[in-house]
Symmetry: C2
């Protein structure tokens, strides 16, 4: 053994990963040796993947369960962009994203030989539909909407972005990798039925409390996944739609088990708890004079005086920064009231 | 819980995955919540990844440890092709592969906007250097060599293929995803020092006995990975070289732990055991009159009479086919003498 022990979560405010639910851990431990990429050989995990995709389709109000459990949000975003590129009549060369979109879209463009048109967000840190529309043209393969941005936790005007995409013959992809397990409990118009988006990333291993790796990619129209098909001549199974080949059975089993356990009530309870705690953090930051935009999902961005972020880090806190000089506190399930109290104590000591 | 239990391995002869070593399982269970994609937040797993890459570099005789733990062989192969494409002065558009190469190279070409030139293998089921040379030109980004083919378990003439690639200004990539943990104990010229290959896939989650997902991608020259770099603006970490974003800490920890435990003696013992058992299977098949090429690595291909393969499958055996009407029996660590005896009993009953 290596003698190295894992990171504990008691100082982690920077991550969109979290302590998995015990149900997820138990399921993962059973399936560490099962390859979800070879469903004909590993039939048990194939059945669990059907369950997981059906649950994701229910959560996102999809017309039918279509998609698979990915290695994470990046694979899901790359595959969605690939499907959009390959269905475009002229091999659509651009992806239109807001400046708040996850960096995986830049990675997708680099991998796929496409180009990202980056549109600055509005003052509200959301995609600005008029600005997006001005960047969309006949070469656009996909417009990206974000549901729970990694920068400010904001929800884009998803339906408006979908209409812009469709008017130009492009697809609209919603990145709800982090937000997808909170959005059902908000008033936002976000799901397949409400917005008409074509594909969606929603990751059980973030707010869904599954283990790593379990991301989710869903399509509104099952035929949209056709460009992703690859024949698998030597396997017992005939084809694959995934970017990776061998896939974690543990992630699939954990996702199925935890969603069966927590959807919908467990996720609703956690949404309420996390939002209340995020509001308290935001209020405490404002009381200390730090500019702190309104909280929309459980993520607090607060403008700390220069040097304070690095002092918090020196004191052991894991906190990331968001563009514009904001510290970013993600109130994941492992973030407790006690952690917040300790954070505020440290903050008061260093300011 | 789902009530579905995992596949047992007692009838699995089709898979290059296997029962992970107990050391790997124990390490994985500790790190199910750690994200190897964010090393600044998850520092313990970052240290383990350094250990794992250093061990892979030792096993493959690399000039220096350079690479990372991937989600599997497919990600490693895609990333190697991407690095080759992006370093090519004219954006090299072709990948030259043998007809025995893993289907992930077709997937890589589809994703990356490249084309696979598929060269038929020789009668010995290996890449034929002359035939490969005839397909290599100024547009070739990479030539692929295979070290342990998934079809017949064959080792290509790797050094000759590397010379052909280099003469054309292309890179040579070795896919030793499955073979890499057997090759050190053969007489084959295969490693970085002996062959001069530029990059290599070698998967701890196959014959390395780690858990899924843990693949390996290594580069001879650390600067060759430069095209893979993506900035990660909002994370505590500055950049990523991986295709996926969030990555399994469990896979990384398991790979480090099991390689520390089994390299080199444990792997040598398993190589000897698996080869002896594969030889016995091959002999038994020949005694029954089935054409069975020589065994080079622990994988037996045997030409069964029509209908017999599907009868074996009906009897519960998981066996895949290899082109040319061969059944393919992969003698992974979970394949025991008792399993082989039972297989032969079934075979005698259905022929």
């Amino acid at each position: 053994m290596t003698g190295i022990v894992p990171q504990r979560f008691e100082t982690v405010l920077s991550s969109m990963c979290t302590e998995p639910h015990p149900t997820a851990v138990a399921a993962a431990e059973q399936f560490l040796a099962s390859n979800a990429g070879d469903p004909a050989t590993y039939q048990a995990v194939a059945a669990l993947e059907e369950t997981a995709v059906a649950l994701l389709a229910e959560i996102t109000n999809a017309p039918a369960p279509s998609g698979y459990i990915t290695s994470g949000g990046t694979e899901a975003n790359i595959q969605a962009m690939r499907a959009a590129r390959d269905r475009h009549p002229r091999g659509g060369s651009t992806i239109v994203i807001g400046s708040h979109a996850h960096f995986s879209f830049q990675k997708a463009a680099a991998v796929l030989g496409m180009r990202c048109e980056v549109v600055p967000t509005g003052a509200d840190h959301r995609a600005d539909p008029d600005a997006v529309a001005a960047h969309v043209d006949a070469d656009t393969a996909a417009v990206v909407a974000v549901g729970g941005s990694t920068t400010f936790g904001r929800i884009d005007p998803i339906r408006a972005l979908t209409e812009i995409a469709h008017d130009a013959g492009a697809l609209c992809h919603l990145d709800a990798a982090w937000g997808g397990f909170y959005l059902p409990f908000t008033d936002a118009e976000w799901d397949f039925a409400a917005t008409g988006v074509d594909s969606m990333t929603i990751d059980p291993h973030k707010a869904g409390r599954s283990v790593i790796p379990s991301g989710g990619l869903l399509f509104a129209d099952p035929t949209a996944a056709a460009p992703l098909r690859v024949e698998t001549p030597y396997l017992a199974s005939a084809d694959q739609y995934s970017l990776t080949g061998t896939r974690s059975g543990a992630g699939v089993a954990a996702a199925a088990a935890v969603m069966q356990t927590l959807w919908p009530d467990g996720y609703a309870t956690e949404y309420t708890r996390a939002m209340a705690l995020a509001e308290r953090v935001a209020t405490a930051c404002r009381e200390r004079g730090f500019a702190t935009p309104e909280v929309e999902l459980p993520l607090v961005a607060t403008q700390l005086p220069e040097g304070v972020l690095s002092e918090l880090r020196s004191a052991g806190w894991r906190i990331a920064a968001t563009p514009g000089g904001y510290a970013r506190i993600v109130v994941m399930p492992h973030v407790t009231e006690a952690m917040v109290r300790e954070l505020l104590t440290t903050l008061d000591a260093v300011t």
